[in-house]
């Protein structure tokens, strides 16, 4: 018999703390979009746009992935987290660093960026140490384990690159022009950190929720090789060797399409009678990968160019794909964590509510509609550079983010003792044989 694991599960309050912080960042970023519409209609290299970008990438996406990984990684890799205490320090350092970073970007004080970037680097460093020690001795390097490892290499490089870019603002020492360095940093984050993490975890988590067989076969190899070779080629291509960029972009595109093919197969093989809103968010996000990838490849091949297209590409990649996917995952993860914290100890001893009893489908549907239409419209308006269109789309995104936050707040209120008593009484018994 293999050991059952130390039996010390992570307290659900740890990932919840990350996810609540990240959701707050999402709401702040979404509310800022209509407000920053005139700036977004111009060039992306402006203090307020950089502040908005880091609110999304660090505050929303990275904190969510870090927090979710403390719930999901033990499940998909079958390993407990090495240290919960380190993870708590990591949240405090990273969140403080992100606030400092965003604030200094916004006011355009480059010198103040350094301490904030240093805090973020420290927080990310703790995450990497925790992740490394958690997977130490892992018996089987599955598809998911490999992509999670690749993602953490991407996170380390992205953070280091970001710190160097911050230092370069104070003491100019980096070779090359500003924009290639900036583009390489963005693509390390998007393709080297977020993409492998999401598609690696998706291979284990989507079948769990879709009640489908786990995917297998050649698309997995395409994803591994496509990202393993394509991402370095894209980054090196941007920085130093433009000839590598098209090949790298095509390799990453192949990996993305293989992932989309897997998602399609899982949906076809799903045994669920219907999709809940969390899954609809996730699947809409997967669909958005197709235009985002198309735009990325077109930029890499010089078929399209300019800051307007680049901003539209960012809206599709970080908004329509990453944000919808992450929001969908949160609609699955947060109810589970709350249920586990509040009702897990009572399960089997007394009637407890089911996960759907904790949710609010009407608000989830509203959020899905507003965010889906909002991100699609935002990408179009950014491409056109129309401030009025950007403001209108931004209002949709902001309303969608607020509806999403309200949905999560309703789930979270079960953590309050008064809410538990009110819910348990009329609830049906879950899972009776």
């Amino acid at each position: 018999m293999m050991p059952p694991g130390p039996g010390r599960g992570v307290s659900p309050m740890l990932p919840l703390a990350y996810l609540v912080t990240a959701t707050a960042a999402f709401v702040v970023a979404a509310l800022a979009v209509p407000w920053l519409a005139p700036e977004l209609a111009g060039h992306y290299y402006q203090p307020s746009v950089l502040a908005l970008t880091h609110t999304v990438t660090l505050g929303w996406i990275t904190l969510t992935i870090m927090g979710a990984s403390y719930q999901i990684v033990p499940i998909v890799l079958g390993r407990p987290i090495w240290s919960e205490r380190v993870a708590r320090w990591q949240l405090a350092l990273t969140a403080t660093g992100v606030v400092g970073l965003v604030g200094h970007f916004f006011i355009g004080q480059w010198s103040g960026l350094l301490w904030a970037a240093g805090l973020v680097t420290l927080g990310v460093g703790l995450h990497l140490v925790n992740a490394l020690l958690s997977v130490r001795g892992l018996a089987s390097w599955t598809f998911t384990a490999r992509l999670v490892a690749l993602a953490h290499v991407g996170l380390a490089l992205t953070t280091l690159f970001g710190l160097l870019l911050g230092l370069d603002k104070v003491v100019r020492f980096l070779p090359g022009d500003l924009f290639p360095n900036l583009h390489a940093h963005v693509h390390l984050a998007l393709l080297g950190w977020v993409l492998p993490m999401v598609i690696g975890v998706a291979a284990r988590v989507y079948p769990m929720f879709l009640l489908a067989r786990e995917p297998a076969g050649w698309p997995g190899r395409v994803q591994l090789w496509g990202l393993g070779l394509g991402v370095p080629a894209v980054v090196v291509g941007i920085l130093a060797s433009p000839g590598l960029l098209p090949a790298g972009a095509l390799a990453v595109a192949a990996a993305v399409l293989a992932h989309v093919a897997w998602v399609r197969d899982m949906v076809r093989g799903s045994r669920r009678p219907s999709l809940d809103w969390g899954l609809r968010f996730v699947l809409t996000g997967a669909l958005a990968l197709v235009p985002a990838t198309g735009l990325g490849v077109a930029l890499a091949l010089d078929l399209l160019a300019g800051p307007r297209v680049a901003l539209a590409y960012a809206a599709l990649a970080f908004g329509a794909w990453a944000s919808l996917t992450i929001a969908g995952m949160l609609l699955k993860i947060v109810p589970f964590l709350v249920w586990y914290r509040v009702y897990g100890p009572r399960a089997g001893r007394e009637p407890v509510p089911s996960l759907p009893d904790l949710g609010w489908p009407a608000a989830e549907r509203l959020s899905w509609a507003l965010l889906t239409v909002g991100f699609a419209t935002l990408a179009g308006a950014l491409a056109l550079g129309e401030p009025a269109g950007i403001r209108a789309a931004g209002l949709l995104v902001a309303a969608g983010a607020l509806a999403f936050a309200v949905t999560l707040a309703r789930v979270l209120h079960h953590l309050m003792p008064c809410a538990r008593r009110a819910t348990v009484a009329p609830a049906r018994r879950v899972g009776a044989a």
């Binding site: 009640l211 100890p345 879950v430 899972g431």
Partner: protein, 257 residues
């Protein structure tokens, strides 16, 4: 020549138009219009077994099919292959076995193929387990398929569209020891295919009935990292292994007082 032992899959490959003929014979056969069900189920069924599933006389069904493809109707109809086990009084040993239920009524209602799920559960069956299949019709083809795995069966019809079939080791020839064989006093619970947190709920619901020293063997798709702390908190010991890829077995034992 079509006979009771003709394979339905081959027949439909050669004469695709027979799907509509079969659907016209009985509502049960209308499911064969579903391409997935037809591809998966039909090759495993003989005409005689299909007649038994639908509750129509074998000779009538054979004659109808022959008429549809232009064969003479008067030729003799051979009987279907013998079926392992069968109806009769309820075997007493079923009371001693731990039921591992696989309910496929919803799968079939949605037009999905339940065969792989049933066979997976049969493969994971311990010596002290009985596989209980709930289906909306009598799953006659399973008698043969699982009979070849050494499982006898006993069938109950609970309602017009609700059948419960117990598959057990019984007097059937001994089968190779399952990789998931559990101790003789063990209860078994298969939580594969359930959406979280239902696997955990199902397990926790079974724990109260566990006497000191008794074991509950849980079959899972992954290591239940969030279940372990609950087991620890409730004073249960547990061991986990992975007898085959994709199958995780957790043996839970109530600690002796």
């Amino acid at each position: 020549m079509i006979t009771a032992s003709s394979n339905l899959g081959q027949l439909l490959d050669e004469h695709p138009g027979l799907v509509e003929v079969l659907a016209g014979c009985h509502d049960h056969f209308a499911r064969l219009r579903n391409r997935t069900l037809r591809r998966v189920m039909a090759p495993r069924v003989t005409v005689g077994q299909a007649a038994a599933v639908a509750g129509v006389p074998v000779a009538d069904l054979v004659a109808t099919l022959r008429r549809a493809v232009g064969e003479p109707e008067g030729a003799p109809t051979t009987t279907a292959p013998p079926i392992v086990g069968g109806p009769g009084p309820r075997p007493a040993e079923l009371d001693r076995l731990q039921a591992v239920e696989v309910d496929v009524r919803e799968d079939i209602r949605r037009g999905e193929e339940p065969f792989a799920r049933i066979v997976a559960a049969a493969k994971a069956l311990g010596e002290a387990d009985a596989l209980v299949v709930r289906a909306p019709f009598e799953p006659v083809p399973l008698y043969d398929v699982l009979g070849r795995r050494g499982l006898a069966h006993w069938t109950e019809q609970l309602a017009a569209d609700d059948w419960r079939v117990w598959f057990h080791r019984g007097a059937a020839p001994p089968a190779p020891v399952s990789p998931t064989a559990a101790p003789a006093d063990a209860a078994a619970l298969d939580v594969r295919g359930l959406e979280p947190p239902l696997p955990m709920v199902r397990v926790l619901e079974r724990l109260d009935a566990l006497a000191p020293g008794d074991t509950l063997t849980v079959l899972h798709e992954r290591r239940p990292m969030f279940l372990y702390p609950q087991l620890d908190a409730r004073g249960f010991r547990h061991e986990t292994d992975e007898p085959e890829p994709g199958l995780v077995r957790i043996v839970i034992r109530r600690a002796q007082p």
